[in-house]
């Protein structure tokens, strides 16, 4: 069989806002907002240069109903570039850009083939080889039922590729859309399953390849690491994947050892060195710093300045630089202070320890029942745990202040 080559991309989320960027100034925001476009343009540039046979896009081009026109125009321009390069695009919309939305739609050039809300088959011929693509677009925001039954089993001739925007059934970490099981997919006898929806890059199976390419640009702390898309070559039963990086800004975590560091300026130097090293490797990034071995740091130094001051000092070092570096947070290890009287701390800590989720919910009810609650995410168990640690640290610190 003739080898075919295509690009598999999903979850562009063009012009979507970055979450969790507290305290970021206008410059930083501008830089961040640029990044999804930069990532998309990298993809387009790559496609125009490499000339794949076609491109599949598996949903979530935009972030939602409140998508900006600008994003659509930029996407349109990108598609026009691909049209000029004679690259067909097969596109299915996902939960974020479902067909029911009453937003303005810009027209897309002729090389873009959009799947309708029913599972349908589209075909093209690549060097005499028939390529069949199957997929559907989300008719509305939520498609909770399984759609996999509607996908036909592959016929004999040519290549068969499935496009599916959804998640594996039973995966509670994500909202479940168009659930499926790997088995179900494998049963369709396709050569490749191009998935979308999950932002973390992963392969669910090798035979055939069932692939989430992840999103093209991380947008918050839970989308860490390098992002991009896949350059896929199918040759008969053989398939090869090549990951292509697009992410312009990488979300990442950096652990900094403060061993031997005593004074503030040394601490800044140590952090800077670590950050610079990482930035050389990663390029622009939003980094969460995790401090360890802070015993050496002069105790009162730690308690005199608040954590926000430390972060401000570091941020100042990187403001306006290229590559772009944003320090998202600094995590300090719990203070194990011996001078602290445990007789006071322990009982309260014990009390905190004893609280269950309900107790915590009761505690924060005041906020969540308030209209502020609309803008706050529900506490996850891990967040509750963090809150517990934070409260204990706060108490210890306060007691220390009292002497």
């Amino acid at each position: 069989m003739e080898t075919i080559r295509f690009l598999h991309i999903a979850d562009l989320h063009l012009d979507s806002p970055f979450k969790g960027m507290a305290s970021a100034g206008p410059d930083e925001l501008a830089r961040l907002q640029q990044s999804t476009f930069v990532a998309f343009e990298r993809f387009v540039t790559y496609a125009v240069k490499e000339r794949p046979d076609f491109v599949v896009m598996v949903g979530d081009l935009y972030d939602g109903e409140d998508r900006s026109l600008r994003a659509q125009i930029r996407f349109q321009q990108g598609m026009q570039q691909l049209e000029k390069a004679e690259i067909p695009v097969f596109l299915s919309y996902g939960n974020h850009d479902h067909l029911a939305g009453n937003w303005t739609r810009v027209s897309l050039p002729g090389n873009v083939h959009v799947f309708s809300e029913e599972v349908e088959q589209k075909q093209l011929i690549v060097r005499g080889e028939m390529v069949s693509l199957y997929g559907f677009s989300y008719p509305q925001r939520h498609v909770r039922e399984s759609m996999i039954a509607d996908y036909p089993v592959a016929g004999q001739d040519g290549y068969h590729i499935g496009l599916l925007h959804g998640s594996v059934a039973g995966d509670s970490a994500h909202a479940v859309y168009a659930p499926f099981t790997v088995r179900e997919l494998q049963d369709k006898n396709y050569h490749y399953w191009a998935l979308g929806h999950i932002h973390k890059r992963q392969q669910l199976a090798e035979e055939p390849l069932i692939v989430y390419p992840g999103n093209i640009q991380g947008r918050h702390r839970n989308e860490q690491g390098v992002k991009g898309f896949y350059d896929v070559s199918l040759s008969g039963e053989d398939a090869s994947l090549k990951f292509v990086r697009t992410s312009n800004i990488v979300f990442t975590t950096l652990t900094v050892s403060c061993e031997g560091v005593e004074y503030a300026d040394d601490w800044v130097t140590v952090c800077q060195e670590a950050i610079d090293t990482l930035a050389t490797e990663m390029g622009s990034m939003v980094v969460e710093l995790v401090m360890e071995h802070t015993e050496g740091l002069t105790a009162d130094l730690l308690h005199v300045s608040s954590e926000s001051e430390w972060i401000d000092i570091l941020r100042e070092q990187y403001s306006g630089l290229d590559p772009f570096v944003w320090i998202a947070s600094i995590e300090w290890p719990g203070t194990s202070n011996m001078e602290l009287s445990k007789t006071l701390l322990e009982p309260v800590e014990y009390t905190l320890e004893c609280w269950d989720q309900n107790d915590w919910d009761d505690l924060v009810k005041e906020v969540y029942s308030h209209r502020a609650g609309r803008y706050l995410e529900r506490l996850t168990p891990s967040e509750t745990e963090q809150l517990k640690v934070k409260a204990a640290a706060l108490l210890a610190n306060e007691l220390l202040k009292e002497g």
């Binding site: 007789t343 009982p347 009390t351 409260a391």
Partner: protein
């Protein structure tokens, strides 16, 4: 957990002591100053660290050089037995822990071993002293309650403070209502952002309608443009027609005009050529007239000219001018020469003193050289005689001079003659001389004796003085006398000097000067006598000489006379003055003769010159008429010049005439040819006259003009009429049609402009919408604010959690733990006070109070000192007992019950006894009898000198 052994290396006054402790009660007895408190402090220090140097507490560093610190051996059921050692190191001391199983550990492990208790907490529960109990008296209600509570619950007030602060901070972060808390502010911002986003979204929603509008506008504009284009084309065609129609009319007219003109063959350039020829003709005529006039003038002119022979004669004369002048000069110089010679002749005549007759004679005189020679010897002789006369008279004068000299000298000698007086002196001189010699002899002898004669009297004087002086001293009057005597003798002898000798000497001195004077006088006299003799001889000789010379003179005079005579004889016939120099006369005479001869020659030359001049003058006058001699040549030259000029003029006139002739002929020829040409032109044109010719020309010009206009019109037409006009327009029709189109076009343009403006606006709006970042920026900002809100919420939650946790803990404590402790405390307090007080409890305000059997309530402050202490102790012990599981520490007491009365003391001991099995007690006291109060077994340790002795 018990302390088994205390070892102090150096602590305060204690050096190297070891104290063994047992379970249960350990009574540590010692008098005042024995170091009980030091040991109690040492335990705390070793466990919890030496106090910081800047703290108030004593460090108990030993004053002597021993090692600071010590160690405790601990029995521990939970962690196994361990030993803690603390020595000098960092300010809290270096600590090391060793377990029985050989493990060693440090600070962190110690914290665990001490169950998280710090010194303050430990002291608050497990260690109490009399001092602390006594201090209670001074406290007011509030303080007292707090202290009691604190001692029971270890720093609850700190927690309270933290709780309050957290509550406050939480409130500053969030309130259900209000604007100031940070979260509320943030919420307000978020609200605003949401609104802004909505507005922005509405704006974006116009995109579709705008797009539609844009499309419609595009179509409209296109339609309008098409119509506009069509009208434009029409207008253009009509505009061409507008221009072409009049042109065509003009063309037709011109054609008609042209047809009227006969096809004349007016020569090219005819008029110009004619005019040129006509002007040439006129010019030639004038020239001819001028030439004829000129010729006549020239011919009328006459020239006077001398014949050639005369002119040649004139030229010759002019050429001979130099000769003429030379002649005149010769005459002049001859006349001058003659005059000069005349003067010379007169001079010579005067010199020779000649009369006019003599002059004539002179001219014939023989003045030959031969004759001159004959005269010479005569002259010589004459002059010799004269010379000798001269010489002689000179000699005579000399001799007479000498003689006068001698006479003068003789007179001088006479004046120097010696006087009579001098002569007599001279005669006495020999006698005197002799007497002087004698006197000298006498003087020379006496000089030799003189010395001795002087010494003797001196001797006598000295001796006399000496003896006198001595004897005066010795008062030996005899010897005084002797001395006086000898002195007198001395003086006498001194006086006895010879007088004669003195006289002799004076005589000699007087005569010696006279002697020399007389000697010179004698000499002078002799010399004078000799000189006089010589002079007499001289005078005689001179007189003789004079006589001789006078004779000689006489002889010479006669000789001279002879010579003069001879001379006079010789020259008597000639006019020669003999008194004069004959030779010179001869020369002058000769000269005079020469001058005369020369004058004659010059006379002849003068005559010749005058004659020649006269001849020439006459010849000239024959031609030129009367002429003065001086200006002859000027006139000659002028005449010659005039003649030459005249000659030249005549020649040029002839040439001019010739030239004029030639020109006349040429002009004639040209005239003819021009006339011919004009005639030819006329023939060509077919006219015979000038006027006709001009009319013909005018016609031709008009025809040309029409032709040119026609060409112009044709060329203009050719620009437009590539294709022939489709309709036959008339101009008014055209005008009307054009106006209509123009109006329509104007309307159209206005419409298009409006539409295009609209289009631009819409397009601009659309492109702004397309590229607008505002919405995404707002979105992003919204997210940021949300994140910030979330962060603030987390902070709020943490604070909320802490404050709630503290409150819960506290209430837990108050509701569960504290009541248990209080129960125990009540029981003991009850027992201690002999059931006088029933309970010890907390009021709702958090104050302690004691309640009597009969329900009377007393605040702590109202209790007696001892009762206060008992309440305090009950509470402490109850607490320690309650904490047994978590903090099984020994209880250290520093004589706290010393004030208790016997009854209460024994009850206290009872209570402690009850606790002994579970708690180790270290009881420090200075009262030895305390031992006896404990009826049960106890371990007693004595502190003081004996203790030290014991260790050794």
């Amino acid at each position: 957990m018990n302390i088994r052994k205390i070892v102090l290396y150096g602590f305060g006054q204690h050096e190297n002591i070891e104290i063994e402790l047992h379970e249960g009660m350990n009574l540590l007895y010692g008098p005042n100053e024995a170091g009980k408190t030091t040991i109690q402090q040492a335990i705390l220090h070793i466990l919890f660290g030496f106090p910081q140097k800047n703290q108030q507490e004593l460090r108990y560093e030993p004053k002597t050089g021993v090692k600071y610190g010590g160690c405790l051996h601990i029995e521990d059921e939970e962690f196994g037995d361990w030993m803690i050692e603390r020595i000098r190191g960092r300010s809290s001391g270096d600590v090391s822990i060793r377990f029985d199983d050989g493990r060693s550990a440090g600070e962190e492990e110690l914290n665990r071993l001490l169950r998280g208790y710090d010194r303050r907490a430990f002291e608050a529960i497990f260690s109490f002293s009399l001092f602390q109990l006594q201090g209670l008296e001074k406290m007011d209600e509030d303080e007292l309650s707090r202290t009691l509570l604190a001692s029971g619950t270890t720093g609850l007030d700190v927690l309270w403070k933290v709780e309050k602060r957290m509550e406050k901070e939480a409130a500053s972060l969030f309130k259900k209502t209000g604007r100031i808390p940070l979260m509320n502010q943030k919420l307000a911002e978020i609200k605003e952002l949401e609104q802004a986003m909505q507005q922005e979204q509405q704006k974006l929603a116009t995109f579709d309608s705008l797009s539609e509008q844009q499309r419609q506008l595009d179509e409209q504009v296109q339609a309008l443009r098409r119509e506009e284009q069509k009208l434009h084309d029409q207008a253009e065609k009509q505009m061409i027609a507008m221009q072409v129609v009049p042109l065509q009319q003009q063309q037709r007219q011109l054609m008609e005009q042209l047809a009227q003109f006969s096809n004349d063959n007016f020569p090219v350039d005819g008029i110009r050529r004619y005019e040129e020829l006509a002007s040439k003709l006129a010019e030639l005529e004038i020239k001819k007239t001028r030439l004829v006039n000129e010729q006549q003038q020239w011919k009328a002119e006459i020239v006077e000219l001398r014949p050639d022979s005369e002119r040649q004669q004139l030229e010759r004369w002019v050429a001979q001018e130099a000769e003429w002048h030379r002649l005149r000069t010769d005459i002049l110089s001859a006349e001058q020469e003659i005059k000069l010679l005349d003067t010379k002749k007169v001079q010579l005549k005067h010199r020779l003193g000649l009369t006019d007759e003599q002059m004539v004679a002179v001219e014939k005189m023989d003045i030959s050289i031969q004759r001159e020679r004959q005269l010479e010897p005569l002259l010589l002789e004459h002059s010799d005689a004269e010379q000798q006369l001269h010489a002689l008279s000179r000699l005579i004068a000399e001799v007479e001079n000498d003689r006068q000299e001698a006479e003068r000298r003789k007179e001088e000698l006479d004046r120097q003659e010696v006087t009579e007086q001098e002569l007599t002196k001279l005669q006495q001189w020999p006698q005197l001389k002799r007497r002087v010699a004698e006197a000298k002899a006498i003087v020379s002898v006496s000089d030799k004796q003189q010395l001795s004669n002087r010494l003797i009297p001196l001797l006598f004087i000295v001796i006399g003085l000496a003896i006198g002086a001595y004897s005066m001293l010795q008062q030996q009057w005899l010897f005084v006398l002797i001395g006086f005597l000898s002195l007198a003798t001395g003086i006498w002898i001194w006086k006895q000097q010879p007088h004669s000798l003195e006289e002799q000497r004076a005589f000699i001195r007087e005569n010696e000067s006279v002697a020399s004077e007389l000697d010179s006088l004698a000499e002078r006299y002799e010399k004078l006598q000799r000189d006089r003799q010589q002079l007499f001889e001289e005078i005689g000789r001179l007189d003789r000489k004079l006589q001789k010379l006078a004779a000689e003179m006489e002889q010479v005079h006669s000789q001279k006379k002879q010579a003069v005579n001879a001379l006079q004889k010789f020259v008597q016939e000639d006019p020669i003055d003999m008194t004069f120099n004959v030779k010179e006369s001869f020369r002058l005479l000769r000269e005079l003769q020469d001058v005369t001869a020369e004058q004659q020659i010059w006379q002849q030359r003068l005559q010749l010159g005058r004659q020649q001049l006269q001849e020439r003058l006459e010849a000239v006058e024959a031609i030129l008429g009367p002429v003065t001699e001086d200006v002859v040549h000027d006139q000659l030259r002028r005449e010659l010049m005039t003649q030459k000029e005249l000659h030249a003029t005549a020649r040029s006139r002839e040439q001019t005439l010739e030239a004029l002739d030639n020109q006349l002929q040429e002009t004639e020829l040209l005239l003819n040819s021009v006339k011919n040409e004009i005639q030819e032109l006329f023939e060509q044109t077919g006219v015979s006259e000038k006027e006709q010719f001009y009319i013909a020309y005018q016609n031709d010009q008009d025809a040309q003009l029409v032709k040119r206009q026609l060409t112009e019109v044709n060329s203009q037409l050719s620009l437009y009429t590539k294709e022939p006009l489709t309709t036959d327009w008339t101009l008014p029709e055209l005008e009307r049609s054009r106006k209509k189109i123009a109006d329509r076009l104007q309307v159209l343009r206005k419409e298009v402009t409006e539409r295009v403006d609209e289009q631009v606006r819409v397009t601009h709006e659309l492109s702004q919408l397309k590229t607008s970042k505002t919405y995404s920026e707002l979105q992003q900002l919204f997210e940021v604010r949300k994140a910030e809100l979330e962060e603030l919420a987390k902070q709020w939650m943490a604070r909320k959690a802490v404050s709630v946790a503290i409150r819960q803990t506290m209430s837990e404590w108050r509701e569960h733990q504290l009541p248990a402790v209080l129960d125990k405390a009540n029981e003991w307090f009850n027992r201690l006070t002999g059931n006088r007080y029933r309970t010890l409890g907390l009021t709702s305000e958090g104050y302690f109070q004691a309640v009597t059997r009969d329900g009377q309530q007393f605040t702590i402050n109202e209790l007696s000192q001892a009762t206060k202490e008992q309440a305090y102790l009950s509470l402490r012990l109850a607490l320690a007992s309650a904490l047994l599981d978590r903090a099984p520490f020994p209880i250290i007491m520093d004589d706290p019950i010393v004030h208790f009365d016997n009854e209460r003391l024994s009850r206290m001991i009872e209570i402690i006894k009850e606790l002994q099995p579970s708690h180790q007690f270290l009881y420090f006291t200075c009262h030895a009898e305390m031992e006896t109060k404990w009826s049960s077994k106890l371990h007693k340790v004595e502190i003081g000198t004996r203790v030290k002795g014991e260790i050794q």
